[in-house]
Symmetry: C2
Subunit: 124 residues, 2 copies
């Protein structure tokens, strides 16, 4: 979820909903600050733009109050997933996996091939 105010969003999940929430971490190579909300079985990722070329700046411009940006699903073998996705004509937004927020290989699938949802796959 992209949020216009990281501290306020963090406070909703921590102080109001009582979840365990990480510190804000700057990821300059991704152009984002991230906070992870730990829900036991899964995590919510709060994102806020970092720097002028942040890839989420235009999203926040269009969604000024914030909004859901993407979902992330773990896979065992990202290269095998890429081969399979190419066979099934699902477009991948990069030629090679990149290193994501958890230091693990990630790819993003084209939202038009995923009924309007930006889907990230992360090698677990």
């Amino acid at each position: 979820m992209v949020v216009p105010d990281l501290e306020k969003a963090l406070s909703l999940y921590k102080d109001v909903l009582g979840a365990q929430v990480s510190e804000a971490v700057a990821l300059p190579e991704h152009g984002v600050y991230t906070v992870f909300v730990e829900l036991g079985n899964t995590k919510l990722e709060l994102l806020h733009p970092l720097g002028e070329k942040s890839p989420i700046a235009s999203f926040l411009e269009k969604n000024k109050t914030g909004g859901m940006h993407h979902i992330c699903i773990e896979v065992d073998d990202i290269k095998a997933a890429m081969t399979e996705l190419k066979k099934k004509k699902i477009r991948i937004l990069s030629e090679e996996p990149k290193i994501g927020a958890h230091g693990k290989p990630v790819i993003f699938l084209h939202p038009k091939d995923c009924h309007g949802v930006l889907v990230e796959l992360e090698q677990a």
Copy 2:
């Protein structure tokens, strides 16, 4: 996630991504068809409008390719959660819990109080 074509969306998660996917279930009292994608630790809910007064029809009108509609977080005691949320000035979209897709009490929180995200709480 609200999707324009339930069968196609179901097929992405089942046939391409290899997840276990439920049958489509009609919930006329909610004005939706639902499909649950089982991811082991969590579920994705695919929603498609049912009937002319479906509460998600306008969302699909605005997001023709589909998109993320809400997140759902489980709580132990929904009445206690409501009391706490009211204290913290988070608006709830109904006076009383309703019965959700799993036959359990649910409430929805105002997206403007949740940084642009529609948040559903379900009593586990």
